[in-house]
């Protein structure tokens, strides 16, 4: 068992990370952190971003022409979003790692304030009251920020060392997260989920639940917590549908995927059109910018929640399967980072991000394919949408930060 003390990232000498992949060691520079970055992960994200940009361009230009706007509007905004997202990632990486825990309550507070604000001044889109309109046509979705805040703060709470508080007490055995940590994490998430449910944002609620579930499961707490959460989730789901706590539109969207033909012009319309678009793509697709369903604007919300349908139709099984593969690669590389990280906080942050991206990927593509009910969740790095783009890049930055920290703390010779 290798036990390494806490070290700051102040050390600027770069060496190759231990393990199977020795890296070349360039001279120290301000870009040295780049060499700590998982190149495969970065490549996957880059390709996803490029493909996403092209798909957003393909899915929006006809719509914009019909609406009488310049066809590049969404393309430019999307590229701008990616740029801002990359900056966010940089910020996350440049935050001193040890300060992340300190920052966690602040970020959590900001996210909470945003969620409360959205209830007060937010605008409703597609039944969810999740947007704060900003000047110049921009809008913010505090729930996206909340996902990152949940990841950071739950990781901080779960990895809290009681011994730090109670001086002199014997340390908890390794791999043993006390119940009060789990309960604190549940309480934090409970607050967020209540606020998100109040926005009628079912998708974010489920993402938060998935993040919480994954982190509690992996943190090493008693298995009873994991099982208990599964049971509660199942009960809550049944209860919400049966008591009518869900709005009609939510139930309709949830059930429409099972039988899209029941109301092809109403709730089932999206799913039916989405499936037609994907199905008609075949093996090689209709060709970029040549999908009749996409260019004919048959799939609603195609640049955001249904971007995968554009991939399915225009790029075919090869392209759409490639997107799934790239996302899979992204998730697997993140898991690898989590597995390598010996620091519980860092590992939990990465696990939270994996659960977040993983759930959103499965839900988003699953709903396009008619496997999952329709909820408004974007496909990470591909869908159009500012807030989600910033949040996912920020989360990616956190993952890089964790990897970087692990690399410098396990440098041989230290």
């Amino acid at each position: 068992m290798t036990t390494v003390g806490l070290q700051t990232s102040a050390a600027t000498t770069s060496r190759s990370a231990p393990g199977s992949l020795p890296r070349p060691v360039p001279a120290a520079s301000r870009w040295s952190w780049l060499h700590e970055v998982d190149a495969v992960l970065l490549l996957a994200v880059t390709v996803l971003s490029v493909v996403g940009t092209v798909l957003v361009w393909s899915a929006t230009r006809e719509r914009l022409v019909v609406a009488g706007q310049p066809p590049q509007t969404f393309l430019y905004k999307h590229i701008l979003n990616i740029g801002v997202g990359v900056l966010c990632a940089g910020v996350a990486m440049k935050l001193p790692y040890r300060l992340l825990r300190v920052w966690a309550p602040v970020i959590f507070g900001v996210a909470l304030a945003g969620l409360v604000a959205v209830l007060a001044v937010g605008s409703t889109i597609n039944g969810s009251r999740s947007w704060i309109q900003l000047p110049a046509g921009f809008s913010l979705q505090p729930s996206e920020l909340a996902k990152a805040a949940v990841v950071l703060s739950v990781a901080a709470v779960l990895s809290m060392q009681p011994t730090l508080l109670r001086r002199g007490a014997p340390p908890d055995p390794p791999d043993h997260v006390p119940h009060r940590n789990v309960m604190a994490a549940l309480a934090l998430c409970g607050v967020v989920m209540v606020l998100v449910i109040a926005q009628h944002d079912l998708g974010t609620t489920m993402v938060v639940a998935a993040i919480l579930f994954g982190m509690v499961a992996v943190c090493g707490a008693s298995l009873r917590w994991t099982v208990g959460m599964l049971v509660v989730a199942a009960l809550a789901g049944t209860l919400m549908i049966s008591t009518g706590a869900l709005d009609d539109y939510q139930v309709q969207r949830l059930t429409a995927f099972a039988n899209p033909g029941a109301d092809p012009r109403g709730a089932g319309y999206n799913t039916a059109q989405a499936r037609i678009a994907i199905g008609s793509g075949g093996l090689t697709g209709q060709g970029l910018f040549h999908g009749p369903q996409t260019q004919g604007r048959f799939v609603p919300e195609q640049q955001t929640d249904f971007i995968f349908t554009a991939a399915g139709e225009e790029l075919g099984f090869i392209g759409a399967g490639g997107i799934i593969a790239l996302l899979g690669l992204l998730l697997v590389r993140c898991c690898r980072i989590a597995a390598k990280t010996t620091d519980l906080f860092g590992r939990l942050v990465v696990v939270g991000v994996v659960c977040w991206f993983g759930f959103q990927t499965f839900e988003n593509i699953g709903m396009c394919l008619g496997l999952m009910p329709v909820t408004g969740l974007p496909l990470p790095f591909v869908s159009y949408g500012g807030s989600s783009m910033f949040a996912t890049w920020f989360a990616l930055g956190l993952v890089f930060s964790v990897a970087h920290h692990h690399a410098i703390t396990t440098r041989p010779g230290d």
Binding site: E62, A217, G220, L283, G296, T342, L344, V351, L369
Partner: protein, 767 residues
């Protein structure tokens, strides 16, 4: 800060999480494979039907022209104002305000415009045909006769009339040359019904299949049903219905690529519509106009006279006139009274108009009395029963017969017309004066010879054997068989829809009718008629007595039935067209032609698609001497018989144009007499059979005589003073030309008033 290792339970759970993530993504990939590769073909089809819309371009209906090529029905463009239901529903008040202001603009009642936009069958919708029978997604025409000013207002005030459009559309038009109506011949067009729709959908799907448009059937049928419904009209009566398949043409189909909002992004395929073919009829519009005018003027003239038994004014509630070409069965003209204006059907009929042309008050103007009206033919029927007696009963032609005032048969005494006795007279005179008693005697004697009163065994009256026996007895009856040979009791086969077949009330008919009605009669026999008894006890008693007889022995063919049959009374029924055909057959020497209205089908360019050749149903095999006697008698009837007064009043030069006529005055229980005059001319070389019937018109000579004479005046060019001017004649001595008209597109009706010139009415000029 807690540290974890690779071997802790955290790492194990992380591994589980990783496996979970990968398996979920594999699930997605599997599903993607299923949709795109396995089901790809199906979804590709669904995508095609998603974005291909088929627009049916209706074909212009073909024209109907008369024998000279004058258009009777054609198309014209009209400004049609339509309303989109989709846009109506977007209005906060469901479009109430919009429709109200639109109705005001169009000058129509609000209810009517609102009703027209309702789907048939939905709550608050008026009954068909005043509701919308088409797809709710199609614009609904609310006015077809909009003026350009109305259209401009609608188009310029878009914000006030969202979803309202005005555009030029082809609608049916009736040029009415010489003010011809001919509604019962031409028929009208109306919205398609569900059954017709299915039939046509199959047809359209075949068209598409032939054109090679591959779409899955369900989508195709759905698209077609939305397109065909409502927009297309089908023939509803008359020639429009009979030759609908020929007139309709085949619609064009345009396959358009559309986007999500239905905006057309391109045209995938187009099949041009094919205009409907032209039906060339045997009708002569000029003669038709004359016949209609003669009939229409005879009705009010008849109403000025009084019924000879009751002294009340004659009702003259209906009438019919038929002119046939005796050499081939072509219908030269045919009219029915009351009539209607086929224009009222164009673009949807209003409630008021619909009530006016279907109601009892108007005496059902939609019914063609000439082919669908059935009346007792009365004495006009004697040209059937006399040869029956002479050929089937072997009565001598040259003998004299006793025309007594009355004639006794078992159980009752039957009377001659007005009980007049003429003593011993020739057969020619018997026809001239229309002596009934001679026919009674023949009928009763032949009836006895056929076996007399045929009483079927009461035990077997319900069985097919009884019916068989009754049929055999009918077949032995010379008068029944002769009537059948003349085509009575069965449809003539004229090419007009829903023809009535008349009735030969023989033993078989009596038995069948009795079996149908026995229960009702037997109930009435015991219960009486309390409703009638309250107001008229005498009549109630009479009806009860009748019910008793009918209950007990209504199946028996009695001597009274036989003698009534011999003079075309009792239960005999015939349509005016059937009787006209009987006289045409006598005129042409015994050939029973199938009456025909259409002569040929031409393409819109005038190429002959097919000609409709005259078709002879049967040859009557009348003995030449019998035929000669009949013709001689009918000719002299015009000179010195029952018809003579009509010709005399008009100073008609029978010496130059001999005309064979026979009148009939049919007694109808509870109604005034039916007036008939049947004829053919020229008697020496027959070409025309003219028949006029006026229901509740009283005397045949007085009511039906003047229009018959009037028609002949126009045919031969005779004025009311009896002067002949061949320039006035509709036809040269050789009769109407049999050549098909050449349709060059410039054949239009001359302005009304050029021809025919209108001689003064026959009766007005009489001394």
């Amino acid at each position: 800060m807690s540290q974890v290792t690779h071997k802790t339970r955290s790492s194990r759970r992380l591994l589980v999480l990783q496996v979970l993530v990968v398996s979920l993504l594999l699930t997605l990939a599997g599903r993607l494979y299923y949709l795109q590769i396995h089901e790809g073909q199906r979804y590709a089809q669904a995508a095609a039907s998603n974005r291909i819309r088929q627009v049916i371009t209706p074909a212009p209906r073909g024209d109907v022209v008369d024998r000279n090529g004058v258009k009777l029905v054609t198309n014209t463009t009209s400004l049609v104002v339509s309303v989109s239901r989709t846009d109506l529903n977007k209005q906060p008040d469901g479009g109430q305000q919009l429709l109200a202001s639109l109705a005001y603009l169009l000058g129509k009642p609000v209810d009517e415009v609102v009703g027209r936009t309702k789907l048939c069958g939905e709550p608050g919708a008026p009954p068909s045909p005043r509701c919308w029978n088409g797809s709710p997604y199609q614009p609904i025409p609310v006015a077809v006769d909009a003026t350009p000013e109305m259209a401009l207002q609608v188009l310029e005030r878009r914000e006030q009339f969202p979803g309202v459009t005005a555009q030029l559309t082809a609608v049916r038009s009736y040029p009415s040359p010489w003010k011809v109506n001919a509604a019962h011949l031409l028929g009208y067009v109306g919205p398609i019904t569900e059954q017709e729709l299915q039939r046509r959908q199959q047809q359209a799907v075949q068209e598409l299949a032939r054109a090679g448009t591959a779409l899955d059937d369900q989508t195709q049928a759905l698209t077609l049903s939305q397109q065909i419904r409502g927009t297309d009209l089908v023939g509803r009566a008359g020639l429009e219905s009979q030759y609908d398949d020929e007139i309709r043409g085949s619609p064009g189909v345009r396959s358009l690529a559309v986007d999500h909002d239905g905006n057309v992004t391109g045209q995938a395929d187009e099949i041009e519509p094919v205009s409907g073919n032209t039906v060339v009829t045997s009708i002569d519009a000029r003669l038709q106009a004359v016949v209609e005018r003669q009939l229409a003027s005879a009705i009010p003239q008849t109403r000025t006279r009084l019924d000879h038994t009751t002294g009340e004014p004659l009702k003259a509630d209906a009438g019919a006139a038929v002119v046939l070409d005796v050499t081939n069965g072509q219908v030269l003209a045919m009219a029915s009274y009351p009539t209607y204006d086929p224009k009222v059907w164009v673009g949807g009929i209003s409630s008021k108009q619909y009530a006016a042309i279907t109601g009892q008050e108007a005496n059902f103007p939609m019914i063609s009395r000439a082919t669908q009206g059935q009346f007792a033919p009365a004495s006009t029927f004697k040209v059937v029963t006399m040869p029956a007696a002479l050929q089937g009963g072997d009565y001598p032609l040259d003998a004299r017969y006793d025309c007594s005032g009355t004639y006794d048969i078992p159980g009752r005494t039957v009377r001659n017309f007005e009980s007049l006795a003429y003593g011993l007279i020739t057969l020619e005179k018997a026809i001239n004066i229309s002596c009934d008693t001679i026919f009674y005697r023949w009928a009763y004697e032949m009836y006895q010879r056929d076996g007399g009163m045929y009483v079927p065994n009461p035990a077997i009256v319900d069985t097919p054997q009884a019916l068989q026996a009754a049929r055999q007895a009918d077949a032995r009856d010379p008068m029944m068989t002769m009537a059948r040979r003349f085509g009575m009791g069965q449809p003539t086969g004229v090419d007009l829809p829903e023809e009535a077949k008349g009735r030969i009330p023989g033993r078989a008919w009596k038995l069948g009718y009795w079996l149908d009605t026995r229960a009702d009669y037997c109930t009435a026999a015991s219960a009486g008629y309390p409703g009638v008894a309250a107001t008229d006890p005498t009549r109630a008693a009479y009806l009860q007595q009748l019910a008793r007889e009918n209950c007990a022995s209504g199946n028996i063919y009695r001597p009274g039935d036989a003698v009534n049959f011999s003079i075309g009374q009792g239960d005999v029924l015939a349509t005016p067209l059937q009787m006209a055909r009987v006289y045409a057959a006598i005129a042409n020497g015994g050939t029973l032609w199938t009456p025909h209205v259409a002569r040929a089908i031409l393409t819109p360019e005038g190429q002959v698609v097919r000609t409709i050749a005259p078709h002879a149903d049967a040859t009557l095999n009348l003995r030449p001497d019998v035929l000669e006697l009949l013709r001689r008698s009918l000719v002299s009837t015009s000179i010195r018989g029952t018809s003579s007064s009509a010709f005399a009043k008009a100073h008609f030069p029978l010496w130059r144009f001999p005309i064979a006529t026979k009148t009939g005055t049919g007694e109808v229980y509870g109604k005034q007499d039916t007036a008939w005059m049947a004829s053919y001319a020229p008697a020496d070389n027959p070409r025309y059979a003219v028949l006029v019937m006026i229901s509740q018109g009283g005397s045949g000579t007085k009511a039906a005589g003047p229009p018959v004479v009037g028609i002949y005046q126009h045919i031969f060019g005779v004025n009311s003073r009896g002067w002949v001017d061949s320039d006035w004649a509709l036809y040269p001595p050789s009769g109407p030309s049999q050549a098909l008209p050449r349709l060059t597109g410039s054949t239009s009706a001359p302005q009304s008033g050029q021809r025919p010139r209108s001689p003064a009415s026959a009766s007005r000029s009489g001394p």
